[in-house]
Symmetry: C4
Subunit: 286 residues, 4 copies
């Protein structure tokens, strides 16, 4: 098991090329937020926007359009119940994030099918929250594209059939290989499996133990994989590390970390990480 | 009568255990906010979230869902008029807060019955504002669970039958024993009765004399009792002390304290209080 | 003509008595904000809340309830088109503010009548914006209570019949005496007439020349007259002075002053002004 | 080609005359923001308000009224689908901004016609985003007034017929002369054409490559041309320079710049630029 260090973030988050435009940094389409869980998709959207994705569109229940634009006018809105629009936006995305606040009923199951049916090979799809639960219960096959799951331990049990007590690295990795996906297994010490390697996140704080923390992580994985799409699993690793690194910095002066505070801190954090001299760092580690 | 000191906060607000997750810190379900008083339940929700409850759901009028998520995307929303959902969310909670902005009519009375009918022994229920008025007028019996009332003096008169002029500690305590509840009697010098002891809050500032201050307190009592549920009445005492302690700190530079400012200050305040060396403090007091 | 100094603010904004509660600081009911001009009543509400009124309720179009609570959860909401509710809230207020964003059509004229019919002698009513225009056009008589008008020069022309070019102090004062009201005549150098004296505001900055500045002033006059209701015209003078004093301080570092920034600066400004040693100040002026 | 320097901003943004009022600084009417792209018109509105326009009204889909007022209560709202109101507000404006988030369908095409039909010679009209696409596709003639286009390279190709690869200064300028408009051609190094001169913006940062950046620019051009309407093309140049100058300052500490952060930074930035001693600067350049 490889322990992640801040090196992964400064490896991935490099200074932007001068002649870039917003298309360079990918499109993220998020799908989630039913009438009850609008906050979840708003937090995920904020994370995608503040981590620097070029264009972000959020498919959610119409009730959530107002607070979405109050929080992040930078994102676009689409009605999650308009299958045609969802299909179009999913097809056009670099990364799709599905699940935050999606809920678990007939409607959300239907929407999940629309998402899966419209993903193609070159795309990344981040599957979070109730989308994992629905997949497990209905035995859905994985969609095309590069799949990233972000389950907590109970969701992983549902998806993998491995009980929490038995979720040992070897067992998990075997299942991950079978799935052909990347899995961010969230817990007190989060682990990331990609079929080849297992990475452990050695940081994180109990101040993160509040609702919405996972939605923010899913949105960040969306923002990083869209923006750094040529970096493969390293983009996922960097997002996971950055999420807890920022949280630890906030927790130095706060008892709890509000998820939206992580997103708002990203532009300054990523600037600092991108400015670190790579050569020097490597030298230092030798 | 025991005078509270900041010791109560640093006793209750201890560093979080490393291997905790959001379930460790309880679930708060808030019920209130009719079409006119949406701000009250939004402020109570903000207080519950910012004081560190693990999961927070707010049952309110649909009109309030938008501004709720604009202010606190970390909270979930449910329609207060959907009895089935309210029942479900009340049953699942560690602490229920009912009353902020609930209003006093047939609909709110009905909702209060739904709440009371679904509370069980292990739960804490914080009863505030118009919920107290309805209880008093309709002579409702106390719900199951650990009951905390947060009346101001007129509401206490309605509930206890004791006129404001006669609200002396002994008389109050006798009534509190009869009720079998904890009572936070809000006034210029707030007192807390739990049937055994009487505690006085020796701090507080006239800068707190603005609308919404009580809603914020109710939300904090909700957040503290859910999160520190093994601390009994001490969790209530700590919330009450913290509320005025933060307010005094803000009032050092402001003529009035906006209730939402107290909530936003809680994560930093609680960090400072949790970092105080207990041994040292006790030494100092000897 | 008396020139106002910052003395008027420190005379009026005194430290709050220790044993006060929110009732001590009055109730403000604001009426305005049709479907197009919701921002106006939101800014007026923010000013009333941040200047320290005890309880604030805003009667406005239902469309505005969401953004009102997103900006100021501390305020309560009522539907401006519900005559019964408006009547009730107007009757219960210490000060009524009518006009910001009210608009000028049949509906707003009707609402203005409802407001005027429910004001009684002990109340203050601040009449602003289109409420002045409607009064002038329909030749409405003044409502009961202490009336404060806050016209700009064109609105004053409509109300008084005095053309802008002829708006000389003597002519204005004669008309003000006839009306039996207080008039805050807004211009590059605002003047306040109360029938006995004329006061001039010697401060103010062109950075204030943006939409919403007058709505904020109306809300502040509402907040000050409710809170300092025993101070008569001095409460109006203090609000007018404070409004431009804060604006000048912000304009020291900004090209324009956003109206909502004035409101948000009030709690700190009023604290500073309330802390000035009166005796010392008077000594200094001798 | 003339390279712009910060001089253009301090030339245009002069200290405001003391006896000004909000009418002095012009009226901006913005038209855009369909049900999906509400954020675009909100960001454009924020830019117009924060750059100091006297009065700002936003014609947009009703769904966007709430978040508009949550973000900028200083702006007024009108229903974009109410032709009569749009016509009235367009006629009354100093500058009209049309296009941000307008979308491209029958409804938006109709609205664009309403806008164009009501513009007269003395007005400035800023045409952005999908408004450019619609014009190009439907071969609409230019409206009356001083027209400013703000296309990116693909939109310019659609409008001018010049392929991106062929967009050389001479070719562009010939087409601009034919159009009789000012064109802000957005790219890695933005160029401004006014038929007589070509200006190049030598600043800008890849941190600006995020959605909403162009909407903010369009709103700033609106705010500057309304406020500094006697400055002709210099007002456009100053807006374009200020937009990237502020962005560079934010990018010194952030990996990406959120568009709304540029708007919020304008009042302080413009203050600094307006305070620069002109004589000194010119001396320094000699």
């Amino acid at each position: 098991m490889k322990k992640l260090t801040s090196q992964i973030v400064s490896d991935v988050v490099r200074p932007r090329p001068d002649d870039s435009f917003k298309g360079t940094f990918g499109k993220v389409t998020l799908v989630g937020g039913n009438e009850n869980f609008g906050g979840a998709i708003i937090m995920a959207t904020m994370a995608a926007v503040y981590s620097g994705a070029g264009l972000v569109t959020t498919c959610t229940a119409p009730l959530n359009a107002g607070p979405l634009h109050s929080q992040v006018p930078e994102a676009m809105f689409a009605d999650m119940h308009d299958d045609h629009k969802v299909a179009q936006l999913v097809s056009a995305a670099t990364t799709v994030v599905v699940g935050p606040g999606l809920g678990d009923n007939e409607q959300s199951t239907h929407t999940l099918h629309v998402v899966f049916d419209n993903i193609s090979d070159q795309q990344t799809v981040v599957i979070d929250g109730s989308a994992i639960t629905i997949m497990a219960r209905d035995h859905l096959s994985l969609p095309a594209g590069k799949v990233v799951f972000t389950p907590h331990q109970m969701e992983w049990q549902r998806l993998s059939g491995i009980k929490i007590a038995d979720q040992e690295p070897k067992v998990n990795q075997a299942k991950v290989k079978e799935l052909g996906a990347t899995v961010v297994l969230k817990s007190h010490r989060t682990e990331i499996y990609d079929g080849n390697n297992i990475y452990q996140l050695p940081i994180g704080t109990p101040a993160q133990a509040v609702g919405g923390m996972g939605d923010t992580l899913a949105g960040m994985v969306g923002g990083f994989t869209a923006q750094f799409h040529d970096q493969g699993v390293k983009a996922v690793l960097a997002a996971v590390y950055a999420h807890s690194d920022v949280a630890e910095q906030i927790a130095a002066r706060q008892y709890i970390v509000l998820p939206h505070q992580i997103s708002r801190s990203l532009p300054a954090y990523m600037k600092r990480m991108s400015s670190i001299d790579r050569q020097h760092q490597i030298g230092f580690n030798n």
